[in-house]
Amino acid sequence: MEKFTTFTSRLAPLAIDNIDTDQIIPARFLKTISKAGLGDQLFYDWRYDAAGNPKPDFLLNRPEGRQAQVLLAGDNFGCGSSREHAPWALTQYGFRAVISTSFADIFRGNALKNSLLPIVIPAEEHKKLLAAVAANPAATVTVDLAQQKLTLPDGTSVTFPVDSFAKECMLQGVDELGYILKQDVAISAFEKKRPLTINTLSAA
């Protein structure tokens, strides 16, 4: 994983509440056994017509959408299925952060593991940001993970919460598994005192 650095970017607004992971990446694209090619399938059923041609009016098909590294979404983004293909598709398209008033739990966790930053801001700030982008589609924000600070187009800034461990992993560009594997002594100790439950290998 690459280190997550501070960046400034335009926004792609998608002001719809409860955007579920079936919209982010429809289930029929989940038959793949790799992670490749998912960026082209991002928001597929909103983005392409029945013949599979890109809809020219859909923001992510336009040059200004292509330039955006920040998605500005409605409330409860990423609800539904646990598919990690959703953050894979978003990052492959080029997004590095999603701004919303809240995120579904599983999506938030999956995003953080893929260096996609879920940024929660208060509803009032979210409204202002939507209005700012509507007034000037070229408006930019600056995302500073180290300071947990989002600088808005008018120069003011808001702070956002982020799990401190996930933040360190993203800033250092490491994944969680390395840390978990270093806990081997504790895991083995737990297994010794743990009561036996099942043995899936015991079947006749």
Binding site: A15, I16, D22, L30, K31, D45, Q183, T200
Partner: protein, 482 residues
Amino acid sequence: MRGVKRTRRFGVVRTMAKTIIQKVWDRHIVAENPGAPALLYIDLHLVHEVTSPQAFSGLRERGLKVRRPDLTFGTTDHSIPTHDRSLPIVDKVAETQITQFEKNCRDFGIPYYGPHSAKQGIVHIIGPEQGLTQPGMTVVCGDSHTATHGAFGALAFGIGTSQVEHVLASQCLLQTPSKSYEVRVDGKLKDGVGAKDIILNLISRIGIGGGTGCVFEYTGSAIRALSMEERMTICNMSIEGGARAGMIAPDDTTYQYLSGRQYAPKGAEWDRAVAEWRTLPSDEGAKYDKRIDIDASALEPMITFGTNPGMGIPITAAVPDPDSVKDPVERDTLGKALRYMDLPSGKPLLGHPINVVFIGSCTNSRISDLRAAAEILKGRRVNPKVRVMVVPGSQQIKQQAQAEGLDRIFKEAGADWREAGCSMCIAMNGDQLQPGEYSVSTSNRNFEGRQGKGGRTFLASPLTAAASAITGVVTDVRTLLG
């Protein structure tokens, strides 16, 4: 630590009343290091073909083994066809995924039910069916409906593929504790109203994000009165209310269900296990972060009208009007949903024509669901304009249904009796709606395109689905009950 010792020395051990959520959490903490989330041990890891391939690739890249294949179990369910299993899989991409899954399980020593196993089925059906799911366990799977297993008093939740890899490699997950949310359901359900209606009612009240950050515990007399299969229907859709997990404390109903199942403890082990399980229910006076009350006796059959499971109404109620919603984004979201569904607001769905009825999914494909549907379909014919698919949750359920003659009832009524799998709930395997078609479906999600691109889903109970199959329109099952 010093404080704890002191209280013990003076003989005043502080007894903090705990919820079942806290108890199961506390019993699985492997390590709590400063600056990191808790390391939680996982008792049962279920894997399937769709969300695991990239995790196995990750293991291979790092040269890692599966730490505990004896706590891991696999099945093929999502992309598997539900037609005759002796036929080849037409979709080569799906076939590759299934073949790769079987190879991954063999290479890493994980037991699994392949496409031709007599025990194959939907991952959340077979866990309980085989007695793998037990009270007090932590259960995970790369699937959001893992919440189903909470019906046994297990802490069960869906994870992404990165975490599938973490659990395969270490049997552990980094987790922060959730808030607790008591969903108290008291009173007696009326005829024609069931578990599906309870959960759809909850989600319609709190919204699809209402339980975000929380684990539900379902309590109350109406929950106690439910069978295990009905409890699973409720816990299954916890995620549709935003909660990663939903739990029901175990009781004699739970133990009766589990007793004698393949992986359930036997003999003296069983007695020890039950004694342990009896310590799980939430203590008297335990505090929850949130609470909601539902009066079961006031519930009607529920149905969804929109494009998320929170957009649900009692079947006789009118579809809401976007103009009555104040918040502009909420108003647009509702308006967009009704345009997608091509539905007018202000009147009930009753009488709305449908094209397909799907009875199946990890929500409602168990034997009691099939019996309920068969009760309505018995001696009747489905409307000739409607395609009706009945997809059992597992091959064992299929066998049992056939032993009871339910398959004959479905076939004589004109319904299609299929092999086990996720089928039209997720529409990955060729079972899908055509653009513009309407279904009444017993599954769990009505998102845009969920059952096939351009398809439109009304979520409801098996009773409502069966009743609508006969009439060809959205129907209140109570009009067909004796």
